[in-house]
Symmetry: none
Subunit: 219 residues, 4 copies
Amino acid sequence: MFDKFEALSEEKRLRIINSALEEFSLRQFKNASTDAIAKNAGISKGALFQYFGSKRQLFQYVYKYACDTLAKEIWAKVDLSNPDILERLKGIFMLKMSLYRKYPSLFAFLLNAYARETDEEIRELIKEDFDSQKSGAYSKIFENIDYGKIRKGFDPEKVVSIIIWAMEGYSNTEAAKLKSEDISMEKYRHWLKELDLFIYTFRKAFYEEEEENRHGQGD
Amino acid sequence: MFDKFEALSEEKRLRIINSALEEFSLRQFKNASTDAIAKNAGISKGALFQYFGSKRQLFQYVYKYACDTLAKEIWAKVDLSNPDILERLKGIFMLKMSLYRKYPSLFAFLLNAYARETDEEIRELIKEDFDSQKSGAYSKIFENIDYGKIRKGFDPEKVVSIIIWAMEGYSNTEAAKLKSEDISMEKYRHWLKELDLFIYTFRKAFYEEEEENRHGQGD
Amino acid sequence: MFDKFEALSEEKRLRIINSALEEFSLRQFKNASTDAIAKNAGISKGALFQYFGSKRQLFQYVYKYACDTLAKEIWAKVDLSNPDILERLKGIFMLKMSLYRKYPSLFAFLLNAYARETDEEIRELIKEDFDSQKSGAYSKIFENIDYGKIRKGFDPEKVVSIIIWAMEGYSNTEAAKLKSEDISMEKYRHWLKELDLFIYTFRKAFYEEEEENRHGQGD
Amino acid sequence: MFDKFEALSEEKRLRIINSALEEFSLRQFKNASTDAIAKNAGISKGALFQYFGSKRQLFQYVYKYACDTLAKEIWAKVDLSNPDILERLKGIFMLKMSLYRKYPSLFAFLLNAYARETDEEIRELIKEDFDSQKSGAYSKIFENIDYGKIRKGFDPEKVVSIIIWAMEGYSNTEAAKLKSEDISMEKYRHWLKELDLFIYTFRKAFYEEEEENRHGQGD
DNA sequence: TATGAATGAGGATTCATTCAT
DNA sequence: TATGAATGAATCCTCATTCAT
């Protein structure tokens, strides 16, 4: 299965995968056009069906590819050694942004698949995968987090929720601004500065004094 | 344009609009069936096309109707007299939740349109509208806000962003849990309690001491 | 089901059925072209699918129609009161020939369906029907046959087999000559004369003397 | 034409012919897969088209091959020295049955081609060939037949037709029972006994007394 | 010469849109 | 004006045939 496809040159394979990623991120499974995928990949419709058998199997292949690629990229790079949730989320934010640069369609494809897809069979495929990945991801993100730094009088769970929602809000806002344009070094530097401001704010708002001092001193 | 439609009796007009709202909230524009819309509205397909010319124009009409209706509802009820951002957001959250109950199809339609629609022309229509509405909405939300209460040392803009993102995160999380089931009074009470906890947390984290005291005393 | 089709005028319905009969008698189910059926019936492809839903259902409808029509025609006209196998087979032969005139494609369609069809689902549909019809038909043909007239020294079963095979051979030979051209009255008279000759031959060959005499006297 | 094919080794040629015979006996011309033919012959699809130009020409070649082979076999073995039609038909029946055993695919192919093929061009090819072969065959079968034995009062032509149709009916009935299973010696003996009974019946029914006597004495 | 990947025309089916009644 | 049957363009998929290697 998919032997014929995997026997192709990497260049051609990527052309096809990226064409499919783009089409499937623009349209639902049902409306995505195999014609468009073939055309944009520079191959014939017949070839597409020789490689993947059906539109459905093409989706499955591309979906698996996207998940694997993303998982490899993310878990290879998130630093789980730092027990500070703020530093960890900062790492995840920067990673997320860099992935937009590297695989613009891939990200859009996965979001589209999860948020918009209505084809039942496809939803099932996604749900299984997504739920297991998500719970895995969340448990990894919260692994070894040190809640001791949070100021007395706060519900640590609420505080962590607020921080995560705020970080998500920020990364979504920035991602929406990006679209598929290139990300400059300047942009990176800007984000790092902004993130430090957010982190400073969170620390000052929710952490014990000493933390703030340490931060103040280190600054 | 749409003269023929607007000449109909209100009862018939509503039947048609509601049928379209429901179909468009269940399916993407391209997959929505004009047959189903006509059937559920109890009119013939031919009539539908005589009123609106095309499926696309029908969508546009219904979309505009939904936006207008919602805007009227929201701005009629949000209390802009209270200069405290926290109280104002609490009001918006409760309103948002109550709208799920009042106009399930209309709300679902707008969410679906904004979040799931992939038809390019439709997206553009939505975006324009949405952006102008959003900027209007945001300027209204921030109208007369008293930033003076925010603790010195914080960037008020960042603090407000964090609060808004966190509130959005919470309302999205809760909305996702809702689906289309009915909202009980108990649910409302639960939300009010939770919101008060969030507000307490925000106040304690970002507001001047005295604010916190006032809250503590008032509780 | 098929309501829309049955609501059409008889003229249009017959045009469609005959077009389908012809196409399905020329090609196997799989190769039969819905395009050709629609075109020859003078309707659009879309209409065909509105009436029947799918090519498969169209076949089923047409098949049932063919069976019902044929059964009605045959059993309405075969005279089962005459206990002489020769007279009865003569009746069946004449009937078979007259059916070629009335429903040329219908006959070809049923033969084609039984002899050539390879689509499994279609075969099953046919087999059930055909086997039950055939056993019913055979039991009717042999109902009340008087074997007493067959000359001593012959195995009556063999004699009847020979007569039936010979009659089938003759009717197939004649049917093959016919194709779809019209059958003249002259042709009918010719067949009747030929049949009488065959019957004379069978009687003289296989029946008791007295039978032959009676025949001789009656001639 | 076909030079390239005929230049191949006999072993390879037979592999290709047998593969085509099998595929064409399983499916109609249109549904037969050139892919399957090439694969089962152990050659590439490209080679197949280089040898034969098109699927149609491949069929023609194979059809001609089948006809020639069969004709050679048949006329080599039918004993034309015996002037008795009954003995001659008995020989043909036994030969026909033995050919099922010797060339199952070839026989199945020809039957399939004649009985089931619906492609018009192919049908024409078959018909021409078949008609010329048939008339040739019939003239050979009736060569040197002694009609003198037939009882006075019968039309010899009719009698011979009846005998041939009955024999065909019997051989078709038996062939239908066979399918592709092997033919045992017992089966052969059974057929010989049955044939003798039929011949006895025909002789008694249609031949002059003395013939019958001779038969009765010889039995 | 042999290969088998690539091509693209052809077929079933769907559905927005039209139009005769 | 209202109807809903009819249309036909568009979509997925197959497979004989071609052609670069």
